[in-house]
Amino acid sequence: MTLEERNALEQAALRVRQHIVRMSTNGGCFIGASLSCADVLVYLYWRFLNISPLTVNAEDRDVLLLSKGHDVPALYGVLAERGFISKDRLKNHLSVDDHIYWHPNRAVSGVEFHSGSLGHLLSVGMGMALDARMKGLPTRVVVILGDGELNEGSVWEACLVASALSIDNLVAIVDRNHFQANIRTEELVPLEPLAEKFRAFGWDAMYVNGHDMESLDECFGALQLNTGRPTVVIADTRRGKGLPSIEERADRWFCNFSPEEADALLDELSGNSRATLTSETLIVR
């Protein structure tokens, strides 16, 4: 990856984060999780996935599924930046006149499946991957999982079956931001050693720095699919990444900021001084 390419990706990620911050006011959104997976989504849509607004219905397109659907502001930001939807449309966040709300709706161009309840889309993605394999298509299915989502037994049930069926055009990416709702994962239901768990289930597992475009490029560039085994990439991330005033804070999970706070956060994103936040945050799940 050239320096220019890397800069371009980082600039795209910044614009996606700005979209996310704009969606965190006037009703709010799950900002922390959206910011943690923003770089991964930018990398995938700019460099890895074979999908564009022109091929959004092509049978052989790659498929990305957000199994932890509450990070959808990041996806909407990406879809807007890539031209799947207009940037103006993001202003419709939480309007009943559009389909853009706290969880994905596949009525929005580029959204492959709805989600919200955790633990569903790994198995849905397995069905899509198998369908593509049966048709002899090159389609790869990428499923973004939350680390908190790994509490759900259905994820591990699906992992067993994916391995049994040798679904090797399937890549799960764990947004390993070390938080679930209002607590650190390791303080509630510890997940480590996580890669070993997936390997014991018959998966290939690797780690990547989920905020470094160079590392993401190395990881996904070297990804070996069609090995007979499904693959998981554990992306080491920080919740709230890009905004030091909310980064890694258990209480900054769902936020509904005032317009002034959102403006201050946009400044903060650009490297200016930290925003002063007084809005209450949602602590209960």
Binding site: E59, R106, F113, H114, S115, G116, S117, G119, H120, L121, L122, S123, V124, G125, M126, G127, M128, A129, L130, D131, A132, R133, M134, S154, E157, A158, L160, V161, A164, L165
Partner: protein, 322 residues
């Protein structure tokens, strides 16, 4: 090869979209796996994964038949059915084995006797409860082309001696007493107990109680006209089902009469709670849903209502229950 297997293989040979997935429940379809090749998938004992995968395939153009025990299919995987199949309105035909009373000796964990209630509660979902093997096969042919989700109570019991009307969702059929102008009793039923209802009607007929039997076939959509016709032409409407009395046909009849401002004497026969497991014939007798027990309960109820004034034709008085 049974007729279900023949149907699946015939359909698969004509329609490359068809995929069959089971949660390690291959009874009744043993010849299918080798003949369907990669279009047969056994996920093991993993109903949630089965349904999620089926939804993923269906939204990419497949027609998916999922085959598992009715209790585990509808209840273990319920949220997957709701979120991934119903919300997506995906063409997944979910076939539930040993539903209702057919779980006989298994015990309450295996009893799907709330399946109709919970499946019909889902937007987009259809519910089909055939009365014998032929009806199952005829209906499945239509559902496989319907491009929408269905829950189907599997049945492979020998065919009833009934006249057949081409399967159509939301259209009930009269399976006994078609020629009666104003029967004393109309029994509304579905599924396995249709045979018991016909036999009960024969028995009552010998006592000069004229009984029509209506087979609902689909509970969603339900044939409202058939229900209103029963209420408008009979002294007593009887619902018979191997299902809880909440949420199934008894509730459908109450909802329909209420929506149309109609009243009727209604006897509801079904399970108030989980049934005592045992051999099927003993279960039928023990739960008072054998043909003799159904006839007896109808006789008793008729004896009660001759002492109250008949419902005026356009009455809006309350629906009475047994």
């Amino acid at each position: 090869m049974n007729r279900y297997e023949t149907l699946l293989l015939d359909t698969a040979s004509r329609d490359e979209r068809l995929v069959v997935i089971t949660a390690e429940n291959r009874g009744h379809m043993r010849t299918v796996p080798p003949m369907l090749g990669d279009r047969f998938i056994d996920v093991g004992i993993a109903e949630q994964t089965m349904i999620g995968m089926a939804a993923g395939m269906a939204v990419r153009g497949r027609v998916v038949v999922t085959h598992a025990l009715a209790a585990f299919l509808t209840m273990r995987a319920f949220e997957f059915i709701r979120d991934d199949v119903a919300i997506a309105n995906a063409p997944v035909i979910m076939v539930g084995m040993v539903p209702g009373v057919l779980s006989d000796g298994n015990g309450p964990t295996h009893q799907a006797i709330e399946d109709v209630s919970i499946m019909r509660g889902l937007p987009n979902m259809g519910v089909f409860c055939p009365c014998d093997e032929s009806e199952f096969i005829d209906g499945m042919r239509v559902l496989l082309e319907s491009r929408r989700p269905w829950y189907v109570r599997y049945i492979n019991t020998p065919d009833l001696a009934i006249s057949r009307v081409a399967f159509e969702p939301g259209v009930a059929t009269v399976v006994r007493g078609e020629s009666l102008h104003r029967p004393n009793v109309t029994i509304l039923t579905y599924g396995f107990l249709t045979r018991q209802c016909i036999e009960a009607a024969e028995e009552l007929g010998r006592d000069d109680v004229q009984v029509r039997v209506v087979n609902m076939r689909t509970l969603k959509p339900a044939d409202e006209k058939a229900i209103l016709h029963a209420a408008g032409t009979s002294e007593l409407v009887v619902t018979v089902e191997d299902h809880l009395l909440t949420g199934g046909l008894a509730s459908i009849v109450a909802e329909t009469l209420m929506a149309h401002g109609k009243g009727a004497h209604v006897l509801t026969i079904g399970f108030p709670t989980w049934f005592t497991p045992g051999r099927l014939d003993e279960v039928l007798a023990n739960e008072h849903i054998s043909s003799a027990a159904i006839a007896h309960r109808i006789r008793q109820r008729l004896a009660d209502i001759v002492h109250v004034p008949a419902a005026p034709p356009s009455s809006t008085h309350e629906v009475t229950h047994a």
